[in-house]
């Protein structure tokens, strides 16, 4: 019983900020209207965030699914070097390569572009995504694929028609991670985007507070927090089962 009391007290501590923020933002519903009119308009920033997240999730899923299958089922020269190079992304501090990325995207004509930002997010997601997808494909019985090959499918058809369905939990986990990371990230868009009309939500909402420091409207601020957080919270709860399962199996096998 005392354990439940402790747990309840802790749960109140953890949930209180979210509940309060929701309440504070709704106290004056005009907060949302006011925020919607800020800068280029909430619609622009939300659209940018959705575009970046969709491109990041799609790119991460396609690249890591193809790569995961390749790494799990084929042998080719340079395989280990490429896998280690991908995992090395985790070892290298995020912040230290953003400045050269800023310069590099300039050379590629992708500076201040949502496509460029998405590609950078895909790169940062790749170690986790590739690792998860390789494990998922390795866990599939080989018979599944061999049956398809004997029937005359090429490996790509076996991959696209049969194996992809079998690794759906891993795809959902990787997709959710990619969404949360790209939707929430603040530092990369802060550096890689410099035109107000291309800002994503975190940069837009933070700049909204930093420009009007002193005369800050806290109700409006919490409305911004809710606009950023609510989609994540909903997805997080809806997909929780897959996510926790995928996470546990990946962690244990790693």
């Amino acid at each position: 019983m005392s354990r439940y009391l402790t747990l309840s007290a802790l749960a109140v501590l953890f949930l209180f900020p979210l509940v309060w923020s929701g309440y504070a933002s709704l106290e004056e519903p005009s907060n949302y209207l006011e925020m919607a009119r800020f800068g280029e308009g909430l619609g622009t920033y939300a659209t940018n965030s959705v575009l970046v997240s969709v491109m990041t999730v799609a790119g991460t899923l396609v690249i890591s699914a193809l790569g995961g299958y390749g790494f799990a089922r084929f042998d080719f020269p340079g395989k280990n070097v490429l896998f280690l190079a991908t995992l090395a992304i985790l070892m290298v501090p995020y912040a230290t390569i953003l400045i050269p990325l800023y310069v590099l995207l300039g050379y590629l004509g992708l500076q201040n572009s949502l496509v460029g930002l998405s590609l950078v997010f895909v790169m940062f997601q790749l170690p986790f995504a590739l690792f998860m997808m390789r494990n998922a494909f390795e866990a599939l019985p080989r018979e599944l694929e061999e049956a398809a090959l004997v029937d005359g499918c090429g490996t790509f058809r076996a991959f696209a028609r049969i194996l992809l369905h079998a690794v759906r939990p891993a795809l959902i986990t990787v997709g959710l991670f990619a969404f949360l990371a790209s939707w929430n990230d603040f530092f990369a868009p802060l550096i890689l985007l410099n035109d107000g009309s291309s800002f994503t939500l975190p940069v837009a909402v933070v700049s909204m507070t930093q420009h009007t420091f002193g005369a800050i409207d806290y109700g409006m601020l919490q409305a911004g927090v809710m606009v950023m957080a609510v989609p994540c919270l909903i997805l997080f709860i809806v997909l929780q089962r897959h996510y926790v399962r995928g996470f546990m199996s990946g962690a244990l096998r790693g």
């Binding site: 747990l7 953890f14 949930l15 900020p17 979210l18 309060w20 504070a24 396609v62 690249i63 193809l66 790569g67 390749g70 790494f71 084929f74 042998d75 080719f76 490429l82 190079a85 991908t86 290298v92 501090p93 912040a95 230290t96 390569i97 400045i99 050269p100 990325l101 310069v103 590099l104 895909v122 790169m123 590739l130 090959l149 004997v150 005359g152 499918c153 490996t155 949360l180 939707w183 929430n184 603040f186 530092f187 802060l190 975190p202 940069v203 933070v206 806290y218 601020l221 919490q222 911004g224 927090v225 950023m228 957080a229 994540c232 997805l235 997080f236 709860i237 929780q240 996470f247 244990l252």
Partner: protein, 304 residues
């Protein structure tokens, strides 16, 4: 490859089994090619570029000129960076200790399956879905002296008699930031530890209990040693994350008061985008990079 070319010089559309029309090696490469392109262009190339930039005077706009090793020599003259290193180390030490303790406590509380435990796991874990920028603004509002709910609450409970300067003094700004980080990350670290706890076979516990071990002995002699690899993973993630802290200070304390919460990455950012000195920022990046890769290697060896 030659086998796949028919007399007309075209690939056969569907020779059965068509899987053989290319060697497995080439196919493997094709599947891995998008990964290789992303890693090569967006990871290896920037790594090389950051080293090259650190050897040049590289203004935000205009021509780069080779000036090695000036950017590196300048680091020692940058008092803000030295302070930032000390501050970041202090922040990392406190955060890592507290985060490990809280996450371990939570994991032990929710490790057994019992009614309602799923709700508590979700409750602790939920803040992890909130981005750092949103979480920073949320706390900024919550701790505000005129508007936030925390000051009235503490006063009603007679814990304080007047509003607290949550981010107005260096010590309180550090303390408030750590509270924010604990709220945001404790649940995530709890989940990592939970995977480790669940990997410990129940027979081990049963054997210990039948040998007459008490709860504390079970914890120190069995749980902790068997949890070591998972604790190591959590420590590495926490140390790396804290050493590279940026968002929380940029959004929440804005480096203040009086530059007392400027982290190392904030100095890199300011050098590059306020002082327009990309070369100097690149040199700082290289130093950080080498230090972190070295530290990670040492930690992985020692903690294994």
């Amino acid at each position: 490859m030659t086998l796949t070319i028919t007399r007309s010089g075209r690939r056969p559309a569907h020779t059965a089994p068509s899987a053989r029309w290319r060697s497995r090696k080439v196919q493997g490469w094709l599947y891995a090619a998008p990964t290789a392109v992303i890693v090569g262009v967006l990871f290896i190339a920037p790594l090389a570029l950051v080293v090259w930039m650190s050897l040049n005077r590289w203004p935000l706009l205009g021509q780069a000129t080779f000036n090695a090793p000036d950017n590196y020599l300048k680091i020692g003259d940058n008092p803000l960076f030295i302070d930032a290193v000390l501050f970041t180390l202090k922040y990392t030490a406190i955060t890592t200790v507290l985060l490990s303790a809280v996450a371990l406590g939570l994991a032990l509380l929710v490790q057994d399956r019992r009614p309602g435990i799923g709700f508590f796991r979700t409750a602790f874990f939920l803040p992890g879905a909130v981005g750092f920028a949103a979480a920073g603004l949320l706390f900024y509002g919550m701790l505000n002296n005129d508007f936030g709910p925390i000051d009235p609450l503490l006063q009603a409970l007679h814990i304080t008699s007047e509003p607290v300067k949550w981010i107005g003094t260096p010590n309180m700004a550090l303390f408030s930031t750590i509270a924010l980080v604990l709220w945001r990350f404790a649940g995530f670290n709890m989940l990592i530890l939970l995977t480790g706890l669940q990997a410990i076979p129940t027979e081990v516990y049963e054997a210990a209990r039948s040998d007459g071990a008490n709860r504390r002995q079970v914890f120190t002699k069995i749980t902790l040693p068997l949890l070591r690899p998972t604790l190591a993973l959590m420590l590495i993630l926490s140390v790396t994350g804290s050493l590279l802290a940026f968002d929380q200070f940029f959004v929440f304390t804005n480096g203040g008061p009086d530059n007392s919460t400027v982290s190392m990455v904030m100095v890199v950012y300011r050098d590059a985008f306020f002082r327009f000195d990309l070369g100097g920022a690149a040199a700082l990046s290289v130093v950080l990079l080498v230090a972190l890769v070295g530290l990670n290697t040492v930690m992985m060896r020692r903690l294994r």
